[in-house]
């Protein structure tokens, strides 16, 4: 039994204080543990995203990780970015999915939840060819390194890029090994060893083997003499034997081939319990199909709109769980990726059209552009309707993006006058810059009606022309939706920019009233 007495000496005070230290320490540790468990919630949103936004996008695109306990490790799988480094934002970025910025925040959310993460990418970073695709590939490769990817494969469009660009983007940086790998593709030769054929990573106490292959059927479409390719099956046999010695708990095969070809290949290599395929539908399926070998087949959809997360729960009744993750606005934006995108846009700006090897092509009609203001001199009502529509500030929307995109040919082509929309190159006499061609800013009349410089010059009297010639020039620019042929022609014009990629909600009958400038309709 202890009695209270005022501390008579410092020694006795020290003794009493030290008697409480251990209990206080233990209590503090317990509190920390409990609070840690409470704070490390499900990875359901990016940092800083509010409850309201998370709830809105959960309602739109589904709940994530429902019923999941923290896995021993989680495999985050992405791929088929198809050049969509960032959603274009034409219909409002919050209405679109994908982009490296949200992807980074998704991966960070997994880590913040205390889930050990290994990230792999199937490949297919770009879809197009040319200087912009080369610059974009380098930027995306830099971004994937920053996100600490452990394995990245190659898609056919990636391998069509010039070797010097591929090697610069893919090669090891300093002492950091390259995350790119492939069992049957070698840049500058399979024996150049610029990329490994496989890798084994240790995460959450699990050993995970990763390799990639390019399907045989796709190899003949890659005409790049500096890229050496071997048959997928024989290359995979060698690699599979080596990986089997790696004492892996799980083995991942990133297979750039059609789903049918992937299934056929996977059947011969049942050691890969997770097989990622290219192709397939726009979105990943809700559930991962199980192949006859017991392997799980992963489809990723297109344009990098989704990631697929596979959680490992060894010893439980469901040792693998999967979740398709829409990369929507609930993930917010990652500052480092926004900076990367800014750097990419600045490169495009500094290269300019000449540096991007974009030269003007002749318009199919051979005519030149006048600018929408020239049309307003006679077509007052039509111009007024245009001025009140989004078309009239199309370029401004690019300037106001963060980062701004008014130097990006893939954006400019639909936001100014005089570009081939689907080819991302200017026509002769089309928009070049606000300095040189301000009168061709925004999506103007001539993008639908055709170049009108000759017509405007005749109507003004700048050029003399016969009545026949004058009428011919007028007739060439007429677009009427009164006939089925005319309507189809108008619809096709709209679809040049309002395509499925950038305007998935487009319906001519719904959109037309906002821009209906039929003379006499006022």
């Amino acid at each position: 039994m202890s009695t209270f007495q005022p501390p008579a000496t410092s020694a006795s005070l020290t003794m009493r204080v030290s008697a409480w230290c251990k209990p206080i320490l233990v209590t503090s540790l317990l509190t920390l543990l409990v609070s840690g468990a409470t704070v490390a919630a499900q990875p359901d949103r990016g940092a800083g995203v509010t409850d309201e936004i998370e709830a809105e996008f959960r309602k739109r695109n589904g709940t994530l990780f429902a019923g999941w306990n923290p896995p021993q490790a989680v495999l985050a799988i992405t791929g088929e970015l198809d050049g969509y480094i960032e959603p274009c934002g034409c219909t409002g970025k919050e209405n679109q999915k994908g982009g490296l910025s949200r992807r980074q925040n998704f991966l960070q959310a997994l880590k913040a939840a205390g889930w050990p993460v290994v990230a792999v990418d199937l490949g297919g970073q770009v879809k197009r060819f040319g200087r912009q695709a080369e610059v974009k590939y380098q930027s995306i490769a830099d971004g994937l390194r920053q996100m600490n990817y452990s394995g990245i494969g190659f898609g056919p469009a990636d391998l069509r890029l010039p070797a010097e660009e591929l090697v610069a983007a893919v090669a090891s940086v300093g002492n950091e090994p390259t995350p790119f790998l492939c069992a049957n593709v070698g840049l500058l030769g399979l024996d150049a060893n610029l990329t490994p054929r496989f890798r084994v990573v240790e995460i959450g106490g699990l050993r995970i083997g990763i390799t990639a292959v390019l399907g045989d059927r796709l190899q003949k479409d890659i005409r790049n003499p500096a890229v050496e390719m071997a048959p997928a099956r024989s290359a995979l046999t060698d690699v599979a034997n080596l990986m089997a010695q790696g004492d892996c708990d799980h083995q991942i095969l990133l297979c750039w081939a059609s789903p049918a070809d992937t299934r056929e290949l996977a059947a011969d290599f049942p050691q890969f319990d997770i097989v990622v395929t290219a192709g397939g539908g726009d979105e990943p399926p809700a559930e991962l199909p199980t192949l006859p070998s017991g392997s799980r087949l992963v489809e990723l959809g297109h344009k990098g709109m989704f990631a697929v997360a596979i959680g490992f729960f060894p010893g439980s009744d469901k040792p693998l769980k999967s979740q398709r993750v829409p990369l929507d606005a609930r993930w917010g934006e990652a500052h480092d990726m926004i900076q990367l995108l800014g750097s990419y846009q600045r490169q495009l700006e500094s290269l300019g059209l000449e540096g991007l090897r974009l030269s003007a092509v002749r318009h199919p009609t051979g005519r030149r552009f006048a600018g929408s203001a020239a049309c307003s001199e006679c077509h007052e009502y039509a111009y007024e309707v245009w001025e009140g529509s989004s078309h009239a500030f199309a370029l401004t929307t690019l300037e106001e993006q963060d980062p701004r995109r008014d130097s990006d040919p893939e954006c400019l082509s639909c936001h100014v006058v005089g570009w081939a929309a689907q080819r991302f190159e200017p026509f002769e006499g089309g928009f070049l810059s606000m300095d040189k061609t301000p009168h061709l800013a925004h999506n103007g009349c001539e993008n639908c009606h055709g170049p009108a410089a000759a017509h405007a010059a005749v109507e003004r009297g700048d050029v003399r022309a016969s009545a026949t010639e004058r009428d011919r020039l007028r007739e060439e620019l007429v677009l009427s939706i009164d006939t089925p042929e005319g309507r189809q022609k108008a619809v096709n014009n709209c679809l040049e920019c309002h395509d499925l990629d950038n305007s998935p909600a487009f319906d001519f009958d719904e959109y037309w009233p906002a821009v209906d400038h039929t003379e006499g309709a006022e």
Partner: protein
């Protein structure tokens, strides 16, 4: 009565218990007050006790097979209420506006919801439109319910959207073209109409490039057709790019005009490439912008090893056997590998191993205003470029 200090361990245990109860109670209160926060989405988050609705859905996935671009289709999914309380269904989002959902009978109010009595059944019809340029199609539509065990149901439809034609690959991209060598390329143009196509014309759209690029087409073989599901005809297109292509960008289209019984089609397939000189340097340390090897400042105690590759194409590629003529700074060691053939023999690769070691004397060749750059000079054996001088920017420090 003297005050007695309690046992510290007892105090600690009570404090931990109170803290845990407080924290857990707070979390529970938040979860109840913001049910969305916990991940469950309910059409009605009221009292869970008593009779409940229970939804039974025999089918949530449908494969519609094939639809043409612009074509439409629909399928109804059935939902039954096997519970004891009304089942409230609310229309959720569709993943694409090419997919819409409507309740049987149009739903109630604005059509966004429907109530199914116990034992009753309803259906939701999903419609889709084939958009884009064809290919595999998969989309979903979500319905929310007040069944606490199944608050949301995702219906998924998939199939194939069939275009009228498709080129494989969709665009021809050619890297590493040589002005001194011709290049042969083929691609397949598939069609999907009932009737086989009749080729009218095929040409390279650029008049200038048409002089250097010939194009022919022949009907696809049975084997080639079998490789493309749903294709009913098509052409094997052969391109031959002659020698003498100008250096730089190559950009044109292949235009094929063909007809069916009731339709004429003009297919345009982009053709792009880059024509470069026969000798090219590639490697991690090779800076493409300044056209120099940039090694930075290297400590000779730590050392450095890196690889640079010289690739050679063109008809003189087998004559190139580089010999080292000069290296500045002297401390930069260069070893030249034996030439190796890659790309089916179309390209020769020669590796150059660059290293700096402890015996490398200090040097400053950092390519600045104060320090001129170094160089590696090779005698190549190439008839048009017999000597190659490779700028090097490096400083060798202690």
């Amino acid at each position: 009565m003297p005050f007695r200090l309690p046992n510290p361990w007892l105090v600690a245990a009570v404090a931990a218990l109170i803290g845990s109860l407080t924290g857990g109670g707070t979390a529970l209160l938040r979860a109840r007050s913001t049910p969305l926060r916990s991940g469950s989405l309910r059409a009605d988050s009221s009292d869970q006790s008593g009779p409940r609705a229970q939804v039974d859905v025999p089918e949530t996935h449908f494969n519609f097979g094939r639809v043409s671009v612009g074509g439409t289709g629909s399928h109804s999914f059935f939902l039954r209420n096997t519970g004891m309380a009304p089942l409230v269904l609310t229309k959720g989002a569709t993943s694409c506006t090419c997919t819409v959902s409507d309740f049987d009978g149009g739903g109630t109010g604005d059509g966004s919801s429907q109530t199914v009595p116990p034992g009753g059944q309803t259906s939701v019809r999903i419609e889709w439109k084939g958009k884009g340029s064809g290919g595999a199609f998969r989309q979903r539509a979500t319905i929310f319910t007040n069944d606490p065990a199944r608050p949301e149901i995702a219906f998924e439809i998939e199939g194939d959207v069939i275009p009228s034609w498709k080129a494989v690959p969709a665009m021809i991209g050619l890297s590493g073209l040589s002005p001194g060598e011709s290049t042969a390329v083929t691609f397949n143009l598939y069609t999907y109409a009932k009737d086989p196509p009749e080729l009218k014309t095929i040409r390279v759209s650029s008049a200038e490039l048409a002089e250097k690029i010939s194009v022919t087409a022949e009907p696809l073989s049975t084997e080639a057709l079998a490789a493309e599901p749903a294709a009913t005809g098509g052409f094997l297109v052969r391109l031959n790019l002659a020698t003498g292509l100008p250096l730089g960008k190559l950009r044109t289209d292949v235009e094929a005009s063909f007809g069916f019984a009731d339709e004429e089609v003009v297919a345009t397939i982009p053709l792009q490439g880059v024509v470069t000189g026969d000798l090219m340097l590639v490697g991690p340390a090779w800076d493409r912008r300044s056209k120099a090897v940039r090694l930075g400042t290297v400590s000779r105690q730590k050392g450095m090893v890196t690889k640079l590759f010289l690739t050679v194409k063109g008809d003189a590629r087998d004559q190139v056997k580089p010999v080292l003529k000069e290296v500045i700074p002297a401390g930069l060691h260069v070893e030249i590998d034996e030439p190796a053939s890659i790309g089916g023999g179309g390209v020769v690769r020669i590796g150059l191993t660059l290293s700096i070691s402890a015996d490398s004397p200090p040097a400053n060749n950092l390519c600045t205003s104060a320090a001129s750059g170094g160089r590696i000079v090779l005698e190549t054996g190439h008839p048009d470029s017999p000597e190659l001088s490779i700028p090097v920017c490096v400083a060798i420090a202690e």
